[in-house]
């Protein structure tokens, strides 16, 4: 099992969700986050007062998938979240030791 964590541009969420549903990923956790990478921040001006905003709003999506589906998931997230502009985000994949569905007690791949 793999945990795929992707940081994406907020307006890309729906395309990413549709793409993942299409390959059979039926669950997702989404968090509103702020951060920066190469994109850095931007400048806001209020009545002449300039503020550099370092942290930009992004979405962090987490999906847990069977190991053989991980590469495919990464691929469709990449294609659906890409705009080609700086700030498209990043994807991280880590192994999952154990998984459990609270309601039924099912474990590991049955719980995904």
């Amino acid at each position: 099992m793999k945990l795929v964590v992707a940081i994406i541009k907020p307006f890309k969420l729906d395309e990413v969700r549709q793409a993942l549903t299409a390959i059979g990923v039926h669950g997702m956790t989404v968090t509103e986050v702020k951060g920066y990478g190469r994109q850095k921040g931007h400048t806001e001006i209020y009545r002449g007062a300039e503020y550099v905003v370092n942290f930009l709003p992004k979405l962090r999506i987490e999906i847990a998938v069977a190991s053989d589906l991980a590469d495919k998931a990464v691929e469709v997230i990449t294609s659906s979240a890409r705009t080609g502009q700086i700030g498209d985000g990043k994807i991280f994949v880590t192994p999952i030791d154990h998984a459990l569905r609270i309601r039924t007690g099912e474990t590991d791949s049955d719980a995904l």
Partner: protein, 435 residues
């Protein structure tokens, strides 16, 4: 058709002149006649001006502060309504508008003593005295509420209450009497239709002094102090804008042509101010900000205030453009140059705007509108009189504010503690917070 309308205009001219004269001169003494039309309009105007403070100013101001100070900023407007209304009834009205000489009115009407169903104030003979009292109350309220914007994000609520009571009593009341209640500035011929001196310049310079005395916010110039929700400020601006029709239009004290002329000039000034400020930002900063456009609108409104009722509607456009330019300059260059932290630009918008409006009233005053000629109509004398009014207001309100703040700080610190300021005034002053 053309000839016909031309004749109609000729006929109308002397009639409107007679109307203006009869309104300008308190000619017919004896039994006052209450006008139903005037009364109806002034009731509406009173409600409009009250709406300017709550929720107009409350939204305008709180939209520009940080999220942790939104409720505290609204609380100041709300508290100003509650406190000043009661003080106004207790003795404010009487000291400003009832009898007296060049310096201060009398206490004849304290707690409205002697005010009856039939009584009228000599300054507004066609509406009930109680209505005149209420209308003028709303001006006192918003003036006090305006001042607090310069020290938003850091003034202790108890200090604000004490300061507001003192400021109303020792700054607003005398000044309003001097200009509007038969005092020495009005007698000298100073033109201030709806409060360029009494409301905007006095609040503006008071705000500047308060900002200097209180000191800059923590993180000013280094941290991000950007507004929490400018959409609130946009809504507040809309309410202020509409309310200003009652502020300036109501200052004609009757349902008449002069009121409508004042409203026309007011509206045009707001439009021109918004466009000008936005355009300046567009050329300098490459984007016209929403905050810039609403600031320009309020600057236009504040600046036309003393001139409305004395100038023609199209003067409103010119005055609005000037307001947009000078107030933008004051809120950016001037504020940076002198390094004061006027949080919500009370001085930059209202102080500079009020001052500019007083001067431009002296420039554009049109005899056929308000009975007085300004510079353009060949009366440069008026500009000197207007300057006199500005000097007195700057000295009185600036000095008064300084003394009062020093006095208040003897009882309670003006400013919250550093920890409270960082936590936010909502939680530290009121025990509430936006989630």
């Amino acid at each position: 058709m053309g000839a016909l309308s031309c004749r109609a205009a000729k006929l109308a001219a002397p009639i409107s002149l007679v109307t203006i004269i009869s309104f300008a001169a308190p000619a017919f003494a004896g039994t006052p006649e209450i006008s139903a039309a005037d009364t109806a309009w002034m009731i509406v105007a009173t409600a409009l001006v009250l709406m300017m403070t709550i929720p107009g100013l409350a939204l305008f101001y709180s939209g520009m502060v940080r999220k942790k100070n939104v409720l505290a900023t609204m609380a100041q407007s709300l508290a100003a309504v509650a406190i000043i209304s009661i003080l106004w009834v207790a003795f404010g009205y009487s000291l400003v508008f009832v009898g007296g000489g060049p310096w201060i009115g009398t206490l004849d009407r304290w707690f409205l003593a002697g005010m009856t169903m039939d009584s009228v104030n000599p300054l507004a003979k066609t509406i009930p005295e109680s209505l005149f009292m209420l209308y003028q109350m709303t001006f006192a309220i918003i003036t006090v509420a305006l001042v607090a914007g310069s020290v938003a994000d850091r003034m202790r609520f108890s200090a604000f209450l004490l300061f507001s009571i003192g400021w109303f009593l020792f700054v607003y009341v005398p000044l309003a009497h001097w200009v509007w209640g038969g005092g020495f500035l009005g007698t000298a011929g100073v033109l201030d239709f709806a409060g360029g001196l009494v409301v905007h310049l006095s609040a503006g310079i008071g705000g500047l002094v308060a900002a200097k005395v209180t000191g800059r916010r923590y993180g000013y110039g280094t941290e991000n102090l950007s507004p929490f929700d400018l959409s609130l400020a946009v809504m507040g601006t809309g309410l202020l804008w509409v309310g200003w029709f009652g502020f300036n239009g109501g200052s004609a004290l009757g349902a008449n042509s002069r009121a409508v002329m004042a409203i026309a000039a007011t509206h045009l000034a707001a439009c021109a101010g918004a466009l000008t400020w936005g355009a300046v930002e567009w050329s300098i900063q490459r984007k016209p900000s929403v905050l810039g456009m609403i600031s320009g609108a309020v600057a236009g409104l504040g600046t036309i205030t003393p001139a409305s009722g004395y100038v023609a509607p199209w003067h409103g456009v010119l005055i609005g453009v000037v307001a947009g330019l000078v107030c933008f300059w004051a809120c950016t260059w001037l504020k940076r140059r002198f390094k004061y932290d006027d949080s919500l630009d009370v001085f930059g918008v209202h102080g500079i705007g009020g001052m500019t409006g007083i001067l431009l009233a002296g420039v554009f005053a049109t005899a056929s509108i308000g009975g007085t000629s300004g510079l353009v109509e060949g009366n440069p004398q008026l500009l000197l009189i207007q300057l006199y009014g500005i000097a007195v207001t700057l000295g009185w309100s600036g000095g008064g504010t300084y003394v009062l703040l020093k006095l208040v700080s003897a009882f309670v610190p003006i400013r919250v503690s550093q920890q409270q300021e960082l936590e936010g005034l909502d939680i530290s002053q009121h025990g509430e917070a936006l989630q």
